[in-house]
Symmetry: C2
Subunit: 365 residues, 2 copies
Amino acid sequence: MKVTPWDVSGEIDYNKLVKDFGATLIDEKIKKRLKTPLLKRGNYFSHRDFDKWLEAYDKKKIISVITGRGPSEKMHLGHLIPFLAAKSLQEEFNCKVFIPISDDEKFFVKEDLNFNKVLEYSKENILDIIALGFKVNETFIFEDFIYTDIYKYAAQIAKRITYSTAKATFGLKTENNIGWSFYPAIQIAHILFPQFYLGKHISVVPVGIDQDPFIKLARDIATHKDFKLEKPAALHAKFIPSLFGNIKMSSSGEGVIFLTDSPSEVKRKINKYAFSGGQSTIKEHRKKGGNPDIDISFQYLKIFFEQDDKRLEKIYYNYKNGTLLSGELKIILIEKINAFLAEHQKNREEAKRSIDKFIIKNSIR
Amino acid sequence: MKVTPWDVSGEIDYNKLVKDFGATLIDEKIKKRLKTPLLKRGNYFSHRDFDKWLEAYDKKKIISVITGRGPSEKMHLGHLIPFLAAKSLQEEFNCKVFIPISDDEKFFVKEDLNFNKVLEYSKENILDIIALGFKVNETFIFEDFIYTDIYKYAAQIAKRITYSTAKATFGLKTENNIGWSFYPAIQIAHILFPQFYLGKHISVVPVGIDQDPFIKLARDIATHKDFKLEKPAALHAKFIPSLFGNIKMSSSGEGVIFLTDSPSEVKRKINKYAFSGGQSTIKEHRKKGGNPDIDISFQYLKIFFEQDDKRLEKIYYNYKNGTLLSGELKIILIEKINAFLAEHQKNREEAKRSIDKFIIKNSIR
């Protein structure tokens, strides 16, 4: 098992990861506070100080959520996870959400990605994010190459990270460019940004567990005497499997549903690729039942699309006892995805008109 | 002899430096084109492509000057050299001047310098620079922590510099902070900034010879396919000796005249410290004469204060033949410095009103 911010491979043992990283499993006490399926059904499994975040909420203190994105040409369902989590938290706890877009990271890391192209990606991705339904005036989006003021925050953090530390924490190589070696400072500035912007308070970062080294470093730096900020909290997500059932979705290849996929593409991909936990013949399936726990269609319904716990449970048992066939399960998923995407594309058009209300602007002296 | 951007020591052999760096001595043909004392009296001794810059001027092409400053608490006379050169070039060749203030570099390199303090330094130093008499609308000043848009230019350059290259070129250490390792990209962005701002053209950098590694790297990067810019030209200055006669002025200690020094401080420092090329008694001086070539008072008159060639020549020979005593030479210098500083302080007050006309502002989307 290998899990770094830039490389995930092998068989993932989440319990071991939590131990290795020194994080805490989400317990029943916390789970009871979470209402939305995405947050309570186990995809978010581990945390740092999320109990303190809830405590601050209970005491009516200021709290916020911060989660970012390295822009890419097209977004797929897996990319939505942290934003859906942020939106859920915004709705449940009525808090501000900060969304930094790290066009610089993508630009530094991808050799052939040119500057204007990455700006385009950011613009397109921001529309997809706004389309999820974030609240105007409560949601602050910025991209590093436009909101360049991030540099002055990052610089203050950079001063407190040696190259050796950055190299050890993030596996930098000396043949990597110096933008890449500076990037950890930008990333930490993103994580601490809600506090730079609103003053000292506890902010939570919903994030893939592979990004935890950034969280740890951000927590160390937060309390440095230069800053005297709160340690940010974190909610760690498991990886979302690809259609093939691989550990983690990847934008290359056919194993993902893009937000721009047409209804017929969705249908084709799910039917052709979605890894099935069913039996190889109908007769056998009726007799032995399927395995929803490894079935991708069921997993996607659980993670993304079936909001009703009762209905999800019914699907689970019907699939397990063989009443529900693999093909029928896929039809349920295809319909759900296509309804979601149709709504998303509509919201995305509307987002083009409201985008300015979400974007933080550079200060000018 | 050791000459790097951060360390100058030993006996400086300028001819050897020019050879080692692969630059070119300023020849008579170039000297004939230069009118101001500072440029033609030998302090600027070497160059890269300055002949091409003059050629572009002759062909009425766009040309510019760029020279920057790492801000410090107080500026001294030595700090003025590149700006006086830039101003001379602006007057003689009617060109635009760009002045980046690298508050970030100072912040990264000086462990105890805090963020707000370096912003103050920048503001104060900018007033001193404007006070020298740069033309409004033809002079563009910016500091990295305010004009943060510099980050998006630096990022594009950073992508083309590996950590190994930066380490080798600038002597970075792994225990230096990652701001410091990123800084070469900012520095190169400064040097190429006139072209980012005005489009492709030849720009000249008046700069201490110790900063040449930045120029070389900037020239390499300018022609990269990402940028396709002109290689910047350079004019290399010798170091300005301290009052004690050391190689290079240093802000610590008494060996420099600060722009804020009072007339009595100037008098005291020159009388007490200015290294004399005179003889130890008046009688001996009258008989053997002094040595103006090692006399700091004469050097300062030559570099900064005596604009009239004839008068300078007269001082030179009178000192050499013993007619002019060391104390009398010092009186001439003290009067010149105090007249300059009085005028400077007046201009500096006026600069407070015009500063906004010189500052480049961040773009806002």
